[in-house]
Amino acid sequence: MVLTDVGAGLTWNLVDDVRQLFQFGFMVNALEAGTVVAVMAAVIGWFMVVRRQSFAGHTIAVVGFPGAAGATLVGVSALYGYFAFCVAAAVLISAVPHSRGKAFSQENAVTGTVQTFLLALGFLFVSLYRGNLNGINSLLFGNFLGITRGQVLTLLLVALGALGVLGVISRPLLFASIDPDVAAARGVPVRGMSLLFLVLLGLAAAEASQITGALLVFALLVMPAATAQRLTPRPLLGGAIAVALGLAVTWIGLAVAYFSPYPIGFWVTTLAFGAYVAAALFTRSTTGTGRAVGVRA
């Protein structure tokens, strides 16, 4: 690509390499956006893994694809499409009645159908747009090129707002997540909490889509959080580990993607998955039963 023509390429001098990363405006934007996204996705992802809603998180992110494709078709920035559709999907999912413990899970069938229909809709928008077919790949699998200053600012403001709300509701949310029945008996508004959290999840998924694409948000939303929970059940420490992992994965992923011909989505998922596998092996070898908060009998 263009990068190899302009930059000096990878050298053995680490300091030079890092300096090279900050040489171009688009790369600085990508690193800043990646940082914002990694922090937000890791924190909200931690709650999502505790609440065992990774399927919902994935669906919400996938819904971002038709949003982004539709926005491109209409001529608006894809970022707004991600936000609009992800939040709408979150509200829609929370409207479906929960059927815990039933053999036949209507909820899963509905979620799966909605998700697929929206992907099909995204495909329709892209084929109506008749633009460059590579565009579809960057919407699905991420693209760190072409993030503007304005977008970085939008990402930052949304992330600050969402994390602020999460900070306020974090204690009752954790209570409602770990034991919904007792929490409801103690007067915690479990249903309202669930809706609010899904909206936050929608925002996080939309932000993560910007870096990883709609299909690979698991890399930033689920894997750092799941790794952290393998290592510790404590919320604060776990959250901190998740954020650190998310940042490391994003920064290293962006740097490697800059120097290599292969896409960011591949690097970010590989790094995050590697960390998860390492943590799983580590906890299995040290404690034998290294399972954390989310798993209840």
């Binding site: 893994v49 065992r52 990774s54 399927f55 994935h58 053999a103 036949f104 899970s105 209507q106 899963n108 069938a109 509905v110 979620t111 799966g112 159908t113 909605v114 998700q115 697929t116 229909f117 992907l119 099909a120 809709l121 495909f123 329709l124 084929s127 109506l128 077919l133 590579n134 579809i136 790949n137 699905l140 699998f141 299909l215 690979l216 698991f218 890399a219 689920v222 894997m223 799941a226 011909p261 292969y262 896409p263 989505g265 591949f266 690097w267 970010v268 998922t269 590989t270 995050a272 998955f273 998860y276 989310g294």
Partner: protein
């Protein structure tokens, strides 16, 4: 460019006869029907066993498998079947009692999807730019692009999967509804679960050729959900699920033929989701009415 020529063609060439006069449509209908039947049957058990997420994960494995095969210069169908069946069985062995854990499934699947993107890049950069469409057709299917031979092979495999599901339907139903009692009665619950996941894998590989890796979940989940709304009896629901899937496929293909700029996979999924929505809404209305009276 416009919808008119295709629409006029349907109107003048006397309905179904004209529709099946086109060889590419005959192939699409032949393979589509068999694939839909297999998806309807497998999908019913998938939803019954709450393994929709596993089906979703497998569908994405199909993407990586097909593109890996393409980038190594092998027939993509080989990559599809090897990848989906192997990963289906693997996920069964990872999770407790043949059912895989959400986070494990999700993480493995995201990484495999990442690998798929790597293979996509290798494939598109090593071959000519005309191949850039390969990724899109694996993701979203190419029903109208099937050759006669491809359609025949797809039909044969789909029918084999459908027959296999029907054969194990009775014990599988028992094992799905009450695993504890079933294993006490010496039903091989674990190996049934693994065998079923292998069938889901084969079905996913088949459906990838029809509606694409990203959309096959709709063909698995929507007819099954629709059937479950229509009847509570398991065998009847299984048959209804199969029939609904085939109906969705036929309606979708006809719709795509009538409106040429709607891609066939979009039409099939739109019909399937629409039918499910209508049945859900009708059920809700009919449940609410007597309560108010």
């Amino acid at each position: 460019m416009s919808a008119l020529p295709g629409f006029a063609l349907v109107a003048t060439s006397s309905g179904v006869g004209g529709l099946l006069g086109q060889p590419f449509l005959r192939n699409a209908f032949l393979a589509g029907t068999a694939i839909a039947a297999a998806c309807g049957l497998v999908g019913y058990f998938l939803v019954l066993r709450s393994q929709v997420f596993t089906g979703d994960a497998l569908s994405h494995v199909a993407f990586a498998g097909a593109l890996a095969a393409l980038s190594f210069g092998v027939d993509p169908r080989l990559g599809l079947f090897v990848a989906t069946i192997a990963v289906g069985i693997l996920m069964g062995t990872l999770g407790p009692r043949g059912q895989a854990d959400d986070v494990v499934v999700g993480s493995v699947f995201a990484w495999i999807l990442g690998l798929g993107v790597l293979f996509l890049t290798i494939f598109t950069t090593s071959k000519s730019s005309a191949d850039a469409k390969a990724g899109v057709s694996v993701l979203f299917g190419s029903l109208f692009g099937l050759s006669h031979d491809q359609a025949l092979v797809a039909t044969a495999i789909a029918l084999a999967v459908a027959v296999a599901v029907v054969v194990i339907a009775r014990p599988l139903l028992f094992a799905s509804l009450d695993p504890a009692v079933a294993s006490a009665r010496r039903v091989p619950v674990v190996s049934l679960g693994l065998g079923f996941l292998a069938l889901v894998g084969a079905c996913a590989a088949e459906a990838t050729q029809a509606v694409g890796a990203l959309l096959l979940l709709g063909l698995l989940a929507a007819p099954a959900g629709t059937a479950q709304q229509l009847t509570a009896r398991p065998y009847r629901a299984l048959a209804v699920s199969c029939a609904v899937a085939i109906g969705d496929m036929w309606a979708g293909l006809t719709m795509s033929y009538a409106f040429p700029h709607l891609p066939p996979s979009f039409c099939v999924i739109a019909v399937a989701a629409g039918a499910y929505l209508v049945v859900l809404a009708a059920k809700r209305v009919s449940r609410r009415l007597p309560a108010q009276a």
